[in-house]
Amino acid sequence: MEYTLQPLGDQAVIIELGDEISNDIQKKIHLVTAYLDAEAPSWIIEYIPAFTTITIFYEPVMLARLCNHQVLPYEYACKLIDDLLKTITGNKAAEPRVIKIPVCYGGEFGPDLETVAKINGLTTDEVIHIHAGGDYSVFMIGFAPGFPFIGGMSESIAAPRRDTPRLKIPARTVGIAGMQTGVYPIETPGGWQLIGRTPIELFRPDDEIPSLLHAGDKVQFFPISLEEYKEWENDNNDNHH
């Protein structure tokens, strides 16, 4: 595995596995993070995976103790990371999970569905068909709790961000920005074109793993009616209380 190590401040190391966004690099990142999850070395506080990097936040005092103050914490962290990455061989990444997300498209949940259709010379039904028919994968989670950066959307429904961002986008709204699609897990301001809403929670602060989606997951959207949306939402609430 080829990579470089660089410091992020005085308590973190950035492992860089490439300089462009690709499925190949994503696979390597998932391989490493799966290993980190399994081994969970005590000197690692946590890690943040992104498109081409994994940043490891470490305990400087513990590292100094572990190496008997022979070297500074960063140097020792790099040595441990080198050792760790050497033991990861092959590319037997686990099969990705497939998460199906129901979406109620258009109406008050998707006020920009018509705009997206107009920009692309399509009907709203065609936009829904294309969006729900896509084969998506989650590159990383960031920006907001549980917010997925999803790749794989068809260029035929791409739409630029709104000129004026909305101050409040309700939680669980599905949007499009450029070539990307995503779901807002919590109420946030934002400039995406809003095309629908899902009744299921992406951010689950009471669960052991607070995010429905993880980096590396495959995602499929499927359309549901407003009645079905309300049923899902009621079921969710029952489960949560």
């Binding site: 660089q6 401040g9 005085d10 308590q11 973190a12 300089d19 946590e46 989670i141 607070p210």
Partner: protein
């Protein structure tokens, strides 16, 4: 139990942060000034990771409904009990019914209140920190407000000994500890600060002029600054040529530069990842100074090496360890 009579400007329950969930986009949160927070806890026999109440510029008014061992650290917001000024960076045993209030902000801008036993709010994802935007943690996921009642946990065995020591002296409103913390731990919150920084990962992509200006000129903390980040105004910083950045992790103290040229220092409530070039990173040991800077303050940056920054962390931790051992011995 304590009750909030007046909430102050922005008063919230925080601890050392919510770790292990940034990979799911859940921000770390936690206190802005970790040294002040940790020392406040040690002074009342708590673990350093226990929750404190962080207050900003205008402090709250709080009533104690039981005898309580407290400590106030951080910026000097003129604390008083029943109107009588009290000291900071030392343990204070407060009589039931007393009211803690704050006055003028004399130095710094954030103060920390620790109580022996900590504040009893639920752990959300392993932390008591308030995450305002996601409405989780702390007291009902929000800043403290009038009429809030917060329970206090059970004091540690050291705290129990401290309380036994102070109890007989408690005739009036409060007893103040006669000892204080090592001066090297009490940051001097000057108006004109020199903050030590490390070169950022993208420092070399900035123009020579921008690289020089970062160290030679002052940057003012703008009014658009909060727990998430300080927006700075000063000389505009520019890349040599436009670069397409790929989003990656950021850290407490990362200085990033959006296309407009005004740098932003990312703080406790920072997002987990960012896509702007990183010109520099605040040395961890100087984060508490930075946390005490307020809008209108001018920051000056001085470069130190990565090795020096690491050594400074280890030294600071040694002093904290000595304080911890010292308190244990005093009351053992």
């Amino acid at each position: 139990m304590i009750t909030i009579i007046k909430p102050g400007l922005l008063t919230s329950i925080q601890d050392l942060g919510r770790y292990g969930f940034q990979k799911y986009g859940v921000i770390a949160s936690g206190v802005m000034d970790q040294i002040a927070h940790r020392v406040a806890n040690l002074l009342v026999g708590n673990k350093e990771s226990e929750s404190t109440i962080e207050m900003t510029l205008i402090g709250p008014t709080i009533q104690f409904h039981e005898n309580t061992l407290i400590a106030i650290t951080g910026g000097d917001l003129s604390p008083a009990i029943n109107g009588k000024a009290i000291g900071t960076w030392k343990p204070i045993f407060v009589k039931k019914g007393s009211v803690l209030s704050f006055g003028k902000c004399q130095a710094g801008c954030r103060a920390y209140l620790a109580a022996a036993g900590g504040f009893s709010v639920p752990f959300i994802m392993g932390s008591k920190s308030t995450y305002l935007r996601a409405k989780i943690g702390g007291n009902e996921g929000r800043a403290l407000k009038k009429h809030d009642a917060i329970h206090i946990g059970n004091p540690s065995s050291i705290a129990v000994k401290m309380i036994h020591f102070y109890q007989p002296q408690l005739s009036s409103d409060f007893v103040s500890g006669r000892w204080a913390v090592d001066a090297s731990l009490i940051p001097i919150y000057q108006k004109r600060k020199s903050i030590r920084v490390l070169k950022g990962r993208h420092y070399h992509l900035f123009t020579k002029q921008s690289q020089q200006k970062l160290y030679e000129e002052g940057f003012e903390v703008s009014s658009q600054s909060d727990r998430m980040g300080y927006r700075l105004t000063g000389p505009a910083l520019a890349l040599e040529k436009p670069e397409e950045m790929i989003s990656e992790a950021v850290a407490f103290g990362t200085i990033q530069v959006p296309p407009g040229g005004d740098p932003i220092i990312l703080l406790a409530d920072r997002q987990t990842t960012g896509g702007y070039p990183k010109i520099a990173q605040i040395a961890s040991v100087d984060l508490p100074f930075l946390a005490q800077a307020k809008p209108g303050d001018t920051l000056h940056f001085t470069e130190i090496t990565h090795d020096e920054a690491q050594r400074l962390i280890l030294e600071k931790e040694k002093v904290l360890q000595e304080l911890k051992v010292g308190i244990k011995h005093k009351f053992a």
